[in-house]
Subunit: 205 residues, 2 copies
């Protein structure tokens, strides 16, 4: 296994496989096939076998995949066999929603800090968090060794805040602002964008 | 072009291409290559050429793609050369964020209605919208002919509300609740899930 050689597009599909497998496991299903998994995620069985085989031989001809084993392997590959602390920057509607989102549990992430530059919001309680001042963000993130951030500030502030996050040592940013961010090569950005998701469905209408 | 034959996975990549092309167009760029587009979206040039060629011959050997033309074609293919009215169900943090999200403009969607079952929220103003009672949702959506909904209710209510949306004639649901929904075959669901997006990045950390 040579991590550098695996295309981004394959890495991008692993979380989709994992989510489907996790849901099968939650229902008590113990084994699956690339065929069955494929039907659940809308990807061909051949593609799934090819993707998964990049990392080793995790399935058996004829018997398919043992779900718990494949889940463990995928979590290990994606490095979510540990918990990543996450900083949320922007305590608006979206920041509130994320700070209270129940969907991070058991999936590798834990919201650790929430920041905002608005003095009216600093000190506010959101769920388990007290909103901290963006002014102290670089030091706080650096001191805590946090590598992952979710950015929910307005588009107009997004690049400036991103530069601060990079300075603080953040290496992965989930960007909710509807603009593209400039980051150094060693920092990853994923854009989360409801319009893109909606556009995947209108084709079929 | 035979619409039924194009794999979901290809359709799923078109919005990503469109967003990158739109950003190039916004910067005044007029032409691009599959190579350049590929670098922007993290997909190989060969894959991009193959995906786009499913729908016709939109590029020229040697000169690449004319961006405005390709944007128009992609919008037509995805049926976002029109505006789809969208119902938001759930006026919590996420519903608020979506009702005010600036990223739908010029991308094929317009929030038309916001619903909640909480009587304390019904009648509230969110941006341009007055929150309507979920009790009247089926009639209101049906009367307006709305086909697209975004679901931001708690997981515990998500299936029940989905059944109502299906009854109201909704054919595409963007699901923010961290559970999988049961829908008839002619209804599409896209799950939007920050954990999945984060998992795409931790691999590289």
């Amino acid at each position: 296994m040579n991590a550098n050689k695996i295309p981004d597009i394959i890495i991008g599909r692993l979380p989709i496989y994992l989510r489907a497998l996790q849901r099968m496991a939650d229902k008590g299903v113990q084994t699956t096939s690339s065929q069955e998994l494929g039907e659940r995620v809308g990807i061909s069985a051949a593609q799934i076998r090819k993707d998964i085989s990049q990392f080793g031989e995790f399935g058996k001809q004829g018997t398919g995949y043992r779900i718990s084993f494949l889940i463990d392997k995928l979590r290990e590959i994606m490095k979510i066999d540990r918990i990543w602390d996450v900083a949320v920057v922007g305590a608006g509607d979206m920041g509130h929603a994320l700070a209270r989102y129940p969907g991070f549990v058991n999936r590798g992430f834990h919201i650790a800090m929430v920041f905002d530059s608005d003095q009216a919001k600093v000190g506010q309680q959101i769920g388990d968090f007290v909103v901290q001042d963006t002014n102290s963000m670089i030091d706080a993130i650096e001191a805590a060794g946090i590598k992952v951030a979710m950015l929910t500030v307005p588009a107009s502030a997004a690049q400036e805040v991103t530069d601060m996050l990079v300075k603080a040592g953040i290496k992965a940013i989930l960007n909710y602002a509807p603009i593209s961010l400039n980051v150094p090569e060693n920092v990853r950005v994923q854009h989360i964008d409801p319009a893109t998701h909606l556009q995947r469905m209108t084709y079929y209408l």
